[in-house]
Amino acid sequence: MSYIIDRRLNAKKKSTVNRQRFLRRYKKHIKRAVEEAVNSRSIRDIDQGGEVSIPNKDISEPVFHHGDGGIRQRVFPGNKEFVVGDEIKRPEGGGGGGSGQGQASNQGEGEDDFTFQINQEEFLDFMFEDLELPNMIKKQLRDATSFEVRRAGFTSVGSPDKLNVVRSLRAANARRIALSGKERRKIRELKAEIKTLEGLLPNQEAVLQIAALNEEIKALNRRIKRMPFIDEFDLKYNNLIRTPVPSSKAVMFCVMDVSGSMTQSIKDIAKRFFILLYLFLTRSYKKIEVVFVRHHTHAKEVDEEEFFYSRETGGTIVSSALNLSADIIHERYPPGDWNIYVAQASDGDNWDGDSHVCREILEQRILPLVQYFAYVEITTGPHQNLWLEYEQIREKFGETFAMQTIVEPSDIYPVFRKLFEKKE
C-alpha cells in the first residue's frame, strides 16, 4: 500500500539557511562585487540585485583524488574507425575528455568562476553592511510620542464593537455546562432508573413509574433550557492597548549648488550620493520624505526633475540654501516627529563673505535640530573657504556633522561608507 502525500504547501525555502551560510562564507568576494556594481551601475538600477563571481579555486571543496599522470585504461563508446594498435594524439589539456566516473563537477566545464545572483535585499545588505545611522538610538528614546494600537488578549469589559464572538460563546457554553451540572446528573440517575424498570416490563406499576420518571426528566430538561443562552457575564472583548512607538519618519534634505561651476558630471556624482543616502534611509525608516533644495545666489525648493536636470548660471551663495532648509524644517518638520538628515553637495565655490554666515546658520539653526548633516565636496582643486569654515564646525559638532571630498565617481561609495561608518 502506498501513501500519497501532497507536500506542495510545505515550507519552501528550506535552503535559505544554507544559502546564507554560503553568502556569509564568501562575504569578502561578494562585497567586492557589490562595490564594483555600485560604482559602475547607472543610477536607476543601483538597488537591483547583482551578479557575483567567485573564482572556482576559492570555492572548491578539496578531496583526495588522482592527478594527471600514470597509466590509465579508459573505455569509451561509439568506436567508428579505430583498431587495436592505433595511436592517437593526446587531446589538449591532457585530461582525455571526461573519464565518465560520475564525480565530475556539476558546475559545467570550462567555467572558471562560480557565478550566481543575489537579490536586491541581499545586495543592499552587503552594500550597507557595517554602516549605521548616527544618533538614531538617541532619537528613538527621546521621541516616544506616537502610539500604536496593539491587541493584548481579552477583557470582560469593553465597547460592543470590540466584542469577540468566539470567546463570548465559548464562555457562555462553559457557564451553561457548569450551572446545569446538578440537573444533568439528576437526569442521568433517572435514566438509569428507567433502564432498571424497563427490565421489569410489562409490569403495570413499572409502566406508570417510567411515565412519571419521563415526566420528571422533561421538567428537568425544561429547566436546563430556561438557562439563559448568553449572559452579560459571558461577554468577552478584544483588548486593545496603546503602545508607544518610536518615531520612524524621516525627512532627507538634498541641498545642491547649481551655479555655473557645477557641471553635469559633478551633478551626476551628487545625485548618486543622494540616492545612496536615500536607499540607506529606507532601510531604517518606514516613511521618508525628500526635500530638494537647490541654490545659486537664491535658494529654491524644487521637484526631483528640476533639481537634477535644469541648469542655471550665476554666483553662489550657500547660506541662502541653508536658510531655506532651516525655514522648511521650522514650518513642516517639527524635530519631535521627524528624523532629519541633510546632505549637501557642492563643488566648494562660495561667495567670499558668505561662508562665515553659513557656519553661523548651521551652528544655530540647523545642527541642533538634525540627526546628521553630511557635506560632500566634489572637486579636484584645493579647498576653499567654505571647507575651512566647515572644518571648524566639525570640531564642535563631531557627532552630527561630517564632511568628505569626492574626486571621481569611484569615490562615491567609499566616501559614503566613511560618512556613515559605525563609530565605536
Binding site: 585504461q73 569509451f76 567508428k80
Partner: protein, 505 residues
C-alpha cells in the same frame, strides 16, 4: 490478455489518478515478484525539488555552506534554462520516499512511480550492499538527530567552529567508510573455549622427540610496533577514536559525517545497476499495462520519448558526451540478460553457459541482489552489448606521447574491454588508496599516512588542502607518503610543510 478501459486519456494528473496508476503498477510489480518497501509518494514543487537537490537528496540535513553553494548553482542553472530538474528523487528509507514534481504530466508521474517506487525501491531492499551497509528504517531519524545535534553545537560553540569541523570532515568523507564488515569481537566464553581447544590440540600432538631439537637463535631485531598495528583505511573512524585533542562534541560530528558517508557508500558503487534496474522495470511494467489496455497508445508514445532520451548514449566524439551514461549501460545490460535467457545465440551459450536459456526474471533478481557495478559488469557484459555500444579501450600512459587503442569490440577485445570497464567502476581504482600507517606515539605524535599507488598515478593538486584539514583534526603533524608497489616511497607531503622537504625532493 483481456483488454481493459484505459485508466486515463488526458495529460493532467490528479491524486485519484496517481492512486489508480500506483495500484495497477503495484499489481503488475507483484506479478513479476518485485519485493519493495512500502511507498510514500510525495508531490512537490520545483522549488522544493531544488531544495531536495541541494541537501544531497535528503528530506532533511544539517546546515552547511556547501549545501548552500549547491543550491545557488542549481537555482542559477535552472533559471537560465541550462538544465532541467530530475523528474524524481527517491530516498532509500522505509517507507521508501519518492518525490514527484507537480509539473510532470500524468504519463511522467506514472513513469516515475514505476521507476522509483518499484524499480529503485526493490533495488534498495534487495541489493546486498544496501542490506549490509544501510538501515533504511533508521536513516530519517538519524538525520533528524544529526541536524539537531549540529544545531546545538552551533549554539554552544559557534557557527564558525562547527563549520570548520564539518569542512574538515567533508574533505575526508570518502575515507570515512568501512569497506568490509569486521567479524564481531569474540566473547570471553568463546575465548575460553578456544584456549581449551588449543591446549587439547597441543596435548594430542605433543611429540617428545621433536622437542629435543635445539632451537635456532632468533635474530632479535626488536622493531617498534606500529600504531595502529594494521593500516586503517577508515580515516574518519581512526580520527574519531584516536585523535588526541578533539572535544567530545567534535568526535560526535566526525561520527555523524562518517555515518552519512557510510549510508551513501552503496549508492556510489551501484549507480549503473540501480539505474539500469529501475529503467528496465519502468519499461517492463508500463509495457505490461499497455498490453492490458490500461494505458493508451498516446501514453506509451510519450513514455517512450522520455525513456529513449534518458537512455541515450552519445558517442565519445559527440559534443554531448560526458562519460558513459549509467542509465544506458545499466538498462542495456539488463535487457541483454533477458535476451540471453530468452533467445540465446551460440555465442551467448559459450560466454554464459549458466544463464543462457534460464528463467530471465530469476536471473535478473539474482544479479540485482548479489552484485555491484564492478562485479556486475565483469560478470554480465556480453560481447553483444560491447558491439552494440561499440566500446573500445584507450590506454593513456603519461610516459608516452600518444594514446593507444588497446582493445575494441572484436573477439580478442571483448574480455579486455569488459575488464577495463569493470575496473573503472571499482572505487578502489577510482579513488587513491590512502590509509593510516603509523602514529609516532613515543615522540611528536605525528600521523603518517600511506598512499599505495595504483598504476603509477600521483595524487591530485588538492592533496595539500586535504592534509590541512586532516592536520586540523589530528592536531599534530601529518605526513603522507606515496608508496609504489615495490614498497619504495616515491613522494612525501607534510603538513605543516617541512622546510627541508624541498631539498629531499
Amino acid at each position: 490478455m483481456k483488454k481493459h478501459q484505459p485508466i486515463s486519456t488526458g495529460s493532467e494528473w490528479t491524486f485519484e489518478l496517481i492512486q489508480r496508476y500506483d495500484q495497477e503498477i503495484a499489481r503488475v510489480a507483484e506479478h513479476y515478484g518485485l519485493d519493495t518497501y512500502p511507498n510514500q509518494i510525495e508531490i512537490i514543487t520545483s522549488e522544493q525539488m531544488m531544495d531536495a537537490y541541494s541537501s544531497v537528496g535528503m528530506p532533511l540535513n544539517y546546515n552547511h555552506w556547501s549545501f548552500g553553494k549547491q543550491f545557488v548553482s542549481t537555482e542559477q542553472q535552472y533559471k537560465r534554462g541550462q538544465m532541467g530538474l530530475a523528474y524524481e528523487i527517491v530516498i532509500n528509507s522505509n517507507p521508501c520516499i519518492s518525490y514527484l514534481m507537480e509539473e510532470n504530466t500524468m504519463t511522467m508521474q506514472a513513469l516515475v512511480i514505476a521507476h522509483a517506487c518499484y524499480g529503485h525501491n526493490s533495488f534498495f531492499k534487495g541489493n546486498y550492499l544496501f542490506r549490509t551497509w544501510t538501515d533504511a528504517s533508521a536513516i530519517i531519524d538519524y538525520l533528524l538527530f544529526a541536524k539537531n545535534y549540529i544545531a546545538k553545537c552551533e549554539e554552544r560553540h559557534g557557527v564558525d567552529a562547527v563549520e570548520q569541523m564539518l569542512d574538515a570532515c567533508h574533505a575526508l568523507m570518502n575515507y570515512g567508510v568501512n569497506r568490509y564488515l569486521r567479524p564481531q569481537p569474540i566473547t570471553p566464553e568463546e575465548e575460553k573455549n578456544r584456549l581449551l581447544d588449543r591446549e587439547e590440540y597441543i596435548q594430542r600432538h605433543l611429540n617428545q622427540l621433536w622437542n629435543t631439537i635445539p632451537k635456532k637463535d632468533e635474530i632479535k631485531e626488536k622493531k617498534t610496533p606500529r600504531f595502529p598495528k594494521d593500516p586503517e583505511e577508515n580515516l574518519l573512524y581512526f580520527i574519531e577514536k584516536n585523535a588526541p585533542l578533539l572535544e567530545p562534541w567534535q568526535r560526535e560530528i566526525v561520527r555523524i559525517v562518517r555515518k552519512i558517508a557510510q549510508y551513501y557508500y552503496p549508492q556510489r558503487q551501484t549507480q549503473v545497476m540501480n539505474e539500469g534496474w529501475a529503467c528496465f522495470w519502468h519499461y517492463t511494467l508500463l509495457h505490461h499495462l499497455h498490453d492490458e489496455g490500461l494505458v493508451t497508445d498516446g501514453f506509451i508514445m510519450e513514455f517512450l520519448h522520455s525513456h529513449t532520451s534518458v537512455i541515450y548514449q552519445p558517442p565519445f566524439d559527440s559534443p554531448y558526451f560526458s562519460g558513459i551514461n549509467p542509465y544506458s549501460l545499466g538498462y542495456g545490460m539488463m535487457r541483454d540478460i533477458r535476451r540471453i535467457c530468452e533467445n540465446p545465440t551460440d555465442e551467448d551459450r559459450k560466454w554464459f553457459p549458466d544463464i543462457a536459456g534460464s528463467d530471465w526474471n530469476e536471473t535478473l533478481q539474482h544479479a540485482m541482489r548479489n552484485y555491484k557495478d564492478e562485479s556486475f559488469i565483469l560478470q554480465y557484459l556480453s560481447p553483444h552489448m560491447i558491439r552494440e555500444l561499440k566500446l573500445f579501450t584507450i590506454t593513456d600512459n603519461s610516459a608516452l606521447s600518444t594514446l593507444q587503442i588497446s582493445a575494441i569490440h572484436d573477439d580478442e577485445g571483448y574480455q579486455k574491454v569488459r575488464e577495463n570497464l569493470a575496473a573503472s567502476y571499482n572505487i578502489g581504482n577510482r579513488e587513491p588508496n590512502i590509509q593510516i600507517y603509523n602514529v609516532n606515539i613515543r615522540g611528536d605524535r605525528s600521523l603518517t599516512l600511506r598512499h599505495y599507488m595504483h598504476n603509477e598515478q600521483p595524487l591530485g593538486d588538492d592533496t595539500d588542502e586535504v592534509l590541512k584539514h586532516l592536520h586540523q583534526l589530528w592536531g599534530f603533524d601529518v605526513h603522507l607518503e606515496s608508496v609504489s608497489p615495490d614498497g619504495q616511497i616515491v613522494n612525501e607531503r607534510h603538513c605543516p610543510p617541512k622546510p627541508h622537504a624541498e631539498e629531499v625532493a
